[in-house]
Amino acid sequence: MDRNPIDFRSFERQFAQMDFRHVVPLAILAVLLVVALIAAWTSVHTVAPEGQSVVKRFGRVVAIRGPGLHFKLPFGIDRAYFVPTERQLTQEFGFRTVSTDSRTQYEKQPTHRAESLMLTGDLKVIDVEWVVQYRVDDANRYLHSVEDPQKAIRDVSEAVMRRIVGNELGSDVLTEKRVEVATQARDELAEILDSFDMGVVVRRIELQDVTPPEPVKPAFNEVNQAEQERERLINEAETRRSQVLPRAEGEALQVIAEAQAYATERTNRARGEAERFSAILAEYQNAPEVTRRRLYLEMAEHVVPRIRRVYVVEPGQPGPLPLLNLTDETLPPRQRTGDR
């Protein structure tokens, strides 16, 4: 250690030689200036546009001020506490908004799930996420009625939501009673918070995702699928029906039309033949014998040339059968002797 010890003697000497007459007023001035600066700094406060400021003097509320520049007593005699009375405040249950940059992102951690899983009236479990929107309407009471207003709002909200969901059927909460649950919860929450006199107005409660618990979700989806399948099966049957029936109707018309064609043909033919017969009959009645013979001969004339062989047998003679060579026939003769 060979550093020089501080030379107190010479320091003392120098100090004694200094002329304090000039320094003292200057120092006092400087101190006063600093004090004045601090006073100025602490006697002014600005209130942001979204709220009010509660000014307390020695802990006692003396004023509540709106947005703008305000003066108060300096040095912490008056203190200002800002409360965002105009802002819409939100508490989220069952999830948290993590960022609202380009796309709002949410997260759901196990602790958040514990907030949102609850029992329904039919003793099932349901996952209800919701937000409570509220506003401070009395800054003074908000600061001085309840120790931790946000915790109070959270606790009571959870209790109220569970009471109401517990009084409904699970499938109703999932579907048609969403709105009812939300309004009922809002009213009840507002009533309880009013009884705490905490200067808060509950604007609304919005149910967010209301879902079955995670392990049960696939089964719920299965139900939806089955419902769609039911519709599909029914539609397919309807389609088949609409394909088959019009064709059958067409075919039916066809059958009827064919019958009508037959009828027309049949009656016309009958009429034609009848008329022909009537005409011939008229002829015949004029000259019965001749006509009769003529008709007979005409027939014979037509028929006889087409016959291959004609055997004319004298009456009283034996028939020609024994003479006929029937063996060269390929087909067994179907024979009837035409003797009279």
Partner: protein
């Protein structure tokens, strides 16, 4: 240069001022809007608690102050596993509001908030436990205006008969009444320690893990049955529609056939009537005429005809004579058909 006397005076003045300031600082105290204060003299409470906010004074040095919150405090219980009357284990999480109403007594009995919360833990946990273990789960979960009707049961999947009964059951007490009764008992039980219990609520009721898994399994089974029902409903409806289609098809077809038969029948009848009207004029001639016609058609090529020489057609082969008065019967021999 300052004279010795002036500088001494200055030091004295400054010292006095400092002392005065110190005294003032020690004597004055503030009470916040949210606070209440008791003044202690040598550790012994002195006078009434101060609740009026603002600047107050006390004896410097020998008195000091203890501050207590005047606002509503919260108590948050630990989730407790409690069996209900139906011996289902549930996890119950309570929350309560309380405030210090008698700071002096509060200070004497529990000293501070930690002590108070410890005391509240013991009392509230046991009161809640007593009430909940004497209550059915349905009464804990549902409220007194629980109202499920038969019509509601139609809409929802219900696993079993007993569950239906349980759903239709009226609520005797319900959550609200249970909570009120817990609050009343707790208020009675909370000993005099300067605290008012304002509100108590059941924040959460959950199944314990094991039971929860069972409940999930039940819910899954229920939904699967519902899905099955939808599927078979779909199949049933489809079959019904198909059957109806077949019925309509048969109706359309048979109706068409019926109409066709009627039309044919009418036509046949009409034709028959037409024929008989015409032919009825001379049935004998008709027989003759028609028979000749049929010979034309029936007697074909390549036939062998064995015929008696008596036949009319061959009569003139024998010679020309005056015709005997014989009937002009068509004495044709039946042709021996040979094709």
């Amino acid at each position: 240069m300052l004279s010795r006397t002036t500088s001494t005076t200055l030091v004295l003045v400054v010292a006095l001022l400092a002392l005065g300031g110190l005294l003032l600082y020690s004597a004055a105290y503030t009470v916040d809007e949210a606070e209440q204060v008791i003044v202690l003299q040598f550790g012994k409470p002195h006078g009434e608690p101060v609740v009026e906010p603002g600047l107050h004074f006390k004896m410097p040095f020998i008195q000091n102050v203890r501050r207590f919150d005047r606002r509503l405090q919260s108590w948050d219980g630990d989730p407790n596993q409690i069996p209900t009357r139906g011996e289902q284990f549930i996890s119950v999480d309570m929350t309560a509001r309380w405030r210090i109403v008698d700071p002096l007594m509060f200070y004497q009995r529990v000293r501070d908030k930690d002590g108070a919360i410890r005391l509240l833990n013991d009392i509230l946990d046991s009161v809640a436990r007593d009430h909940i273990s004497a209550t059915d789960l349905t009464e804990i979960v549902r409220s007194s205006d629980w109202d499920v009707t038969e019509a509601d049961l139609e809409r929802i999947p219900v696993a079993a008969e007993e569950e239906e009964q349980q759903l239709l059951q009226r609520v005797q007490m319900g959550r609200g009444e249970l909570v009120r009764s817990i609050l009343a008992t707790a208020q009675r039980e909370v000993p005099d320690f300067g605290v008012e219990l304002v509100d108590i609520r059941i924040k959460r009721v959950d199944y314990v893990r094991q039971v929860q898994e069972q409940v999930f399994a039940r819910m899954i089974a229920e939904r699967q049955r519902m899905a099955e029902q939808f599927r078979s409903e779909g199949q049933g409806r489809a079959a019904e529609i198909d059957g109806e289609t077949q019925r309509q098809l048969a109706t359309i077809r048979s109706e068409a056939r019926r109409q066709a038969e009627v039309i044919r029948g009418r036509a046949d009848a009409e034709a028959t009537a037409t024929y008989s009207r015409a032919f009825g004029a001379d049935p004998e001639f008709y027989a003759f005429f028609r028979t000749l016609e049929s010979y034309r058609d029936a007697i074909g090529d390549d036939m062998t005809w064995i015929v008696s020489a008596d036949a009319d057609y061959f009569r003139y082969l024998r010679g020309i004579r005056e015709p005997e008065p014989s009937p002009p019967a068509a004495d044709t021999a039946t042709p021996a058909a040979r094709r």
